[in-house]
């Protein structure tokens, strides 16, 4: 994370809090990359044309109210050093129980934490949001596909054929995406990964 704060984002007047948070927690880029390379990584998977690996030892947790900089640390488990702030999430060192390099959401107390992935090509960290996106030949089959794969249908668009499935805690998103992709009439299914979040601008 660089130390440059966007002055003109400040001018936009709302961006400041987000950017301030982005600077408030996390490790410098080089240190973060060194850390990531030292951690166990899972099998590669594709999403959005990019190749990712789950990173063991890192988890992403919602960091609390958007304007509360301290929210990142407050929301992280006690042992979780904040590695990077990414949108509404804090990426932190995981508890031992969360350490496996899988793309699964896990519950930690009252908090659900997301899997952290690394972009193999760029080294950037991303967050598996817990959603699998699929392109269906017929969106009308989305409900059946959800039932068959033990996931929740969040939304399906008849017009585009895209369906969005919520994956229950504890299941590996990559495996679920692969299973959905094998379902009849599914043209594509992938884990939703966010490397960047939007801000007011």
């Amino acid at each position: 994370m660089t130390t440059q704060i966007g002055r003109y984002a400040v001018l936009a007047a709302i961006v400041l809090p987000l950017l301030a948070q982005a600077q408030a927690g996390g490790l410098p880029v080089a240190q973060r990359r060194a850390l990531v390379s030292s951690l166990p990584q899972g099998a590669e998977f594709r999403s959005g044309g990019q190749t990712y690996r789950p990173v063991g030892g890192l988890r992403a947790t919602l960091r609390g109210p958007a304007e509360v900089v301290q929210g990142a640390q407050a929301a992280a488990p006690a042992t979780g050093e904040v590695v990077e702030i990414l949108g509404p999430f804090a990426i932190h060192r995981a508890l031992a129980a969360e350490a496996p390099a899988s793309a699964a959401t896990t519950g930690v107390g009252a908090t659900t934490s997301r899997a952290v992935v690394v972009n193999v090509r760029t080294g950037s960290l991303g967050i598996a949001t817990g959603i699998v996106t699929a392109k269906l030949a017929d969106a009308g089959t989305a409900r059946a596909i959800a039932a068959a794969n033990g996931v929740t249908l969040r939304h399906a668009s008849e017009g585009t054929g895209y369906a969005f499935f919520g994956v229950p805690e504890g299941r590996d998103l990559v495996e679920v995406a692969a299973a959905i992709a094998r379902s009849p009439g599914v043209e594509m299914a992938e884990v939703n990964v966010k490397e960047d979040f939007d801000s007011p601008n």
Binding site: T2, E67, D196
Partner: protein, 860 residues
């Protein structure tokens, strides 16, 4: 009454009897009746029946008493007379009845406890004569007319206007006619000195006047008002006034022959009433004529949507600071003034009463304070808060330092003329707020925000989607989540009944600073740090990407530049006051946008003690003591809603415009601002100079384009002028051309050399596109420092556009792999032929390779 009075029948006998009775009474010591059965008065009749008297006339009434023995006597003199309605019929003590007003009353005569009643009617007096005025004669010029009056005189001397009751006739219709209402008019072809006798007749009486055709001549006819407005769906009364050679004039509205040049837009009836259908084209002007004789006069009737609006007409106290609506050089409570005329160009549009009425606008943002005093009336059901727990219909933000979405919404739709705050660019619009930014930003939620949801949120009936948002860290290529781009494509194809949802997107605020991007070199050489194409929403033709200008009419200091821009609009600078926040660079003290803020002085950008401006502190002026407004909103976040409002105004006038029509009109009528802004070149390169950033160009199709401004600044009046007569959906079928790809390349990019590496691809005629609407390329390269690389594209027509500039903010390792870039600079050109891409390394030190590129055309 004593019975003996009743037995006497003549006055003489009666007098004798009275005397005798007196003696008897005195002797008896009593006046009481004896037992002889003397008759008693049993009833009184009032006559003569029927009692009728003309108004003003009198009639002697008579009371006739009937006795118990059956005899009758006249008891008129003994009776007491009364009228139930004296103002209609009065009666004297002797029974003389006088008619006062036409009507009815009851007359009573009472005697010895007996009362008789007679109904009386007061009638009009008999008509004695009729007089016509003017009389005995009058003159009318050819084409002239005059209203005559008939006056009746009654037998009682009273008079009345009987113009409407009489029968009017002319003795010579060829000379003069007279209407049933008494309007005498010279007949066409009547010669001077010809005469006609006009007669008014009633109840056997008549009066006359002689009209003589005078030698004066009709000299003209004028219609007033000369340039009136008629509200579509309503009517307007016109008047015609004729003038003659003797200087006289007369109202000839009822006699003129009325015609409309375009009856479908403004019709006119025989009485001069002009009407316009509800769906008439706003802004159309139609000549409406009145003809009389050989003369015709006319007025030009303009169709408007409603009463004129505007910042100078409203009671909203902060409108005076809204330079983006009408720039008079005001300071908007900052330290500096803007340049008069640098605004959205709304004067004619507001004159036409256009407000964006009922155009539905969604604000996809951090939130929207739906109970805000200056927004509430324009908020409609259907908002949604994705970030609340649980999600709810109320998108009001829980932020305390300002809610971006509330400020964005105010620019579009602050309520008009409510005496509070300012006015929105399109104050008739209906708002929804989708609080998405302060949520997990899940892709399915965004799909719902941009038109794929009938509830929670309701976006399916939204016309304009305002997206004042974008990538936080444009330091490397970013991608849209799967499913979002297809929804944009679906939205433009299906929303608004197939005319397409209109997606407005802020370009970005990354010219000098851009999140985690490294802007060090960009600031030194003064190119944009964040290229507009670094935001993945900006590289699709579905989005109207908007840059920001300040109140002086040049790029706002922060506004992201690039070939993906479509237009620019007011976004302002910072609006600060040096006495509150000293020590900033000058642009901080230039006007920003006056708009809504979170309510109260406890929260929001405008709040007690905030270090921005006195206005935001609620101190100066006294117009913001509630701290419900701010004068420090800015960013392309502001330029986008300014554009959304502008589009709403166009849709108010022309709801049938498609999304591409809107883009086309905006591009065609944008103002070429900052016209002398030249390309930015460097000589710090081998084979200098090298153009790092383009200046204004005019492409082969005649469109101006600049990476700072797109096609220029939004000008609503100019756009409206074009839109009014534009044939909707006339751009032909929107076509997404097939990708034409280079395949895998390994072309070395010469280090620090303007020669660069070039590659060509051919768009074939078989793609069927003859008019470019946007050009997209996808490119891949390897290079240790992507910020060294610039990408330019030259069309078959020789137009060059820089799609990605050197020395931007991309960080090391951020290599492009099928990275999308978009250029609008080729709009309107024929794409068939050879396109040349050139990749230049603008910095000394590292080598790299172009490993592939593809091109595709959107157009028709």
């Amino acid at each position: 009454m004593h019975r003996w009075l009743a037995v006497r029948r003549s006055p003489a006998v009666l007098l004798a009897a009275l005397l005798a009775a007196s003696v008897v009474a005195a002797g008896c010591g009593s006046g009481g009746g004896g037992g002889g059965g003397a008759p008693t008065l049993t009833s009184i009749a009032v006559g003569p029946a029927p009692i009728s008297v003309a108004r003003g006339a009198s009639l002697q009434l008579r009371a006739t008493g009937t006795w118990s023995d059956g005899s009758t006597t006249d008891v008129t003199a003994q009776s007491t007379w009364n009228s139930t309605v004296p103002i209609v019929a009065s009666v004297s003590g002797s029974g003389l009845l006088t008619g006062q007003e036409i009507g009815a009353a009851s007359i009573t005569a009472s005697s010895s406890g007996v009362t008789g009643t007679g109904p009386a009617t007061v009638t009009s007096a008999g008509l004695a004569r009729i007089d016509v005025t003017p009389a005995p004669s009058f003159a009318l010029p050819a084409g002239g007319a005059r209203q005559l009056t008939a006056t009746g005189t009654y037998a009682d001397g009273s008079t009345a206007n009987v113009t409407a009751q009489v029968a009017w006739t002319s003795s010579a219709e060829a000379v003069a006619t007279v209407t049933t209402a008494g309007l005498a008019a010279v007949s066409p072809g009547a010669v001077p000195a010809a005469t006609a006798i006009v007669t008014a007749a009633l109840s056997g009486k008549s009066g006359t006047s002689t009209v003589t055709v005078s030698a004066v001549t009709l000299t003209g006819i004028a219609v007033t008002p000369r340039t009136p407005d008629v509200i579509a769906g309503q009517g307007l009364q016109l008047s015609a006034t004729a003038s003659w050679s003797d200087g006289t004039t007369a109202d000839v509205t009822a006699r003129a022959t009325w015609t409309s040049a375009t009856p479908a837009t403004v019709a006119v009836d025989a009485s001069g009433r002009a009407t316009s259908p509800r769906d008439a084209r706003v802004g159309d002007r139609v000549a409406v004529a009145a003809a009389l004789g050989s003369f015709t006069g006319s007025s030009t009737v303009r169709v408007v949507r409603g009463a004129p609006i505007g910042p100078t007409r409203t009671s909203d106290p902060l409108a005076e600071g809204q330079w983006y609506l009408l720039n008079t050089g005001q300071d908007a409570w900052s330290d500096k003034k803007g340049t008069p005329g640098v605004d959205l160009g709304l004067q004619e549009t507001y004159d036409l009463g256009l407000t964006g009425f009922d155009v539905k606008v969604a604000i996809i943002d951090t939130g929207l304070e739906i109970e805000h005093e200056d927004l509430k009336l324009n908020v409609r059901p259907g908002s949604w808060n994705f970030g609340s727990t649980p999600p709810s219909y109320n998108p009001t933000s829980t932020r305390t330092l300002g809610d971006h979405g509330t400020s964005v919404a105010g620019i579009v739709s602050m309520v008009y003329d409510n005496g509070k705050g300012g006015m929105g660019v399109a104050p008739g619009t209906r708002l929804n707020g989708y609080a998405w930014l302060d949520s997990l930003q899940l892709p399915d939620d965004y799909v719902k925000c941009i038109g794929n949801s009938s509830s929670n949120p309701r976006s399916i009936d939204v016309a304009i989607f305002n997206q004042s948002l974008g990538t936080t860290n444009p330091d490397q290529p970013r991608r849209l989540d799967a499913g979002i781009e297809p929804q944009y494509a679906l939205g433009v194809a299906t929303l608004r009944g197939g005319r397409g949802g209109i997606y407005v997107k802020s370009a970005g605020n990354g010219f000098t600073y851009a999140g985690t991007a490294d802007c060090t070199e960009a600031k030194v050489v003064k190119v944009t740090c964040m290229n507009a194409s670094a935001d993945p929403r900006n590289v699709w033709p579905y989005n109207i990407v908007v840059g920001a200008i300040n109140a002086s009419g040049v790029r706002a200091s922060y506004s992201t530049a690039g070939s993906a821009l479509w237009v620019s609009a007011p976004g302002g600078e910072s609006g600060y006051n040096a006495n509150v926040t000293p020590g900033r660079t000058p642009d901080w003290y230039e006007p920003a946008m006056v708009t809504t803020d979170q309510s109260s002085c406890d929260i929001g950008n405008s709040r007690t003690g905030v270090l921005t401006s006195s206005f935001d502190q609620g101190v100066v002026p006294q117009k913001n003591t509630t701290c419900n407004y701010r004068n420090t909103m800015n960013g392309t976040s502001s330029a986008a809603p300014a554009t959304s409002g502008a589009i709403a105004l166009l849709l108010d006038a022309r709801p049938d415009l498609t999304w591409r029509d809107v883009k086309h009109i905006l591009a065609s009528k944008a103002t070429k601002i900052d016209p002398s802004r030249e390309a930015l070149t460097t000589v710090d390169i081998k084979n200098p100079p090298y153009t790092m950033e383009m200046g204004w160009i005019t492409n082969d199709a005649g469109y101006n384009f600049h990476p700072w401004y797109g096609f220029g600044a939004v000008n609503v009046d100019a756009a409206l002028a074009m839109a009014r007569t534009y044939v909707a959906n006339s751009l032909g079928t929107f076509t997404t051309g097939a990708w034409v790809a280079s395949g895998t390349l390994a072309r070395r990019i010469p280090d620090w050399d303007s020669t660069g590496v070039t590659e060509t691809l051919v768009i074939p005629a078989s793609q069927g596109i003859g008019f470019v609407e946007a050009v997209q390329i996808r490119w891949s390269a390897t290079h240790p420092r992507m910020a060294d690389l610039g990408v330019e594209l030259t069309s078959p027509k020789g137009t060059k556009s820089i799609l990605f500039n050197i020395k931007g903010g991309f960080i090391a390792g951020a290599e492009p792999s099928d990275m999308l870039l978009l250029s609008n600079a080729f709009y309107g050109e024929n794409p068939v032929g050879t396109w040349t891409v050139k990749v230049v390394d603008g910095r000394d030190g590292e080598d790299g390779f172009l490993t592939g590129w593809q091109i595709r055309i959107f157009g028709h």
